[in-house]
Symmetry: C2
Subunit: 214 residues, 2 copies
């Protein structure tokens, strides 16, 4: 595989390609042209060709892309199916929702434990997991090789939890607290801001209303 | 305000500017230069200037941007604080997590009701709301002007719920089911795919590992 860097914009489109190709594959489609992709995905066809060229380019003129092969390649690049172990810190609504979402496991992201510091929560069963005390976290991470820490605690604890997880060997942080957590070089962090998509929604609603009034 | 279209890429960066400026404002900062923004936000300074120029450009050479004024302008563009009413359909984990997240109300996105079709759930109290039966939805939307429908139902029901909400007058859809819902022209839709950010995380973890091994 290529070892050149793929631009951030392309990387951010890869999950969309992956979802689209998965749907095609499930529907039994074997080949797809960039012009059909363009229509279905509402992306420019030449952009699609450029994007897919970034990592090899399996398209053939007048023949299109092989759906399964292209999907596999994108999965490989994104690391989907590579088998990761994750723990969730924070067993509130978001933590529990993530724990119960089975799809992650199917794609190789295995949630192996959930932790909270609320005595009311500790010991409860959620989606086949017993909520563990935060005090058990260091020992747990010593005994289990965990790749990803999922942060679902209130904003004010998020950075501390991130630091603790990293100091215990976690190399990826998926943060749902509404604040950007940071980590040293070599640690990967993705901060999820649910509100951002709500702002985009209200932006589009305003634009639509303006257009109607014109 | 300008009525020219702002490019999609710029629009998608606006929530980040908004969050950043909110933090500065809370810290009592009155002015900020594009070079400081560039450093703090890890964005190119000339890109920041270009972005902010799209909607007026309040920067002055050697003086910087007025934090509060710029934040207010971005809020206006995004529609934050304009007061929207929203209903949630689906009172599972995601639905309840969104209902309990108070921050939305502070910014003008008011969740006024939550619906489910599970007899076990209907009538339960969640975060000061009684879960209503789906059968009450048409009457509720007749009596209350609701702008946004939040879809938190399983994948297979998502499009039907979207269609129903739109036929009952909702003009914005914020969808959390792991499928892209569609709506006719004039209706705004944002599909949230939580997994996408997890794929990006595993991509970065792989890249980091590659760099370490080099």
């Amino acid at each position: 595989m290529q070892d050149s860097r793929i631009s951030d914009a392309v990387v951010h489109r890869l999950p969309r390609y992956y979802r689209y190709l998965s749907e095609l594959e499930a529907a039994g489609v074997e080949r797809v042209s960039s012009s059909r992709m363009s229509e279905d995905m509402n992306l420019n066809a030449s952009q699609i060709r450029r994007d897919l060229n970034c990592f090899g380019g399996f398209g053939q003129q007048g023949y299109g892309y092989q759906v399964s092969r292209l999907k596999q390649e994108i999965m490989k690049i994104l690391g989907i199916g590579a088998s990761y172990k994750a723990v969730i810190v924070g067993a509130g609504n978001i933590g529990q929702a993530l724990l119960r979402y089975r799809h992650f496991g199917d794609e190789g992201y295995h949630i192996v434990a959930i932790f909270d510091n609320d005595p009311e929560m500790i010991g409860r069963e959620v989606g086949n997991h017993r909520i563990r005390a935060m005090s058990e976290l260091p020992q747990f991470l010593k005994e289990n090789k965990v790749d990803i820490g999922i942060i679902a605690v209130p904003k004010r604890y998020a950075q501390q939890v991130a630091d603790d997880l990293v100091s215990m060997g976690v190399t990826g942080l998926w943060n749902f607290a509404p604040v950007d957590v940071e980590a040293r070089r070599g640690i990967s962090v993705v901060n999820v801001h649910l509100s951002d998509s709500l702002y985009i929604l209200s932006y589009r609603m305003r634009e639509n209303r303006k257009n109607e009034n014109n």
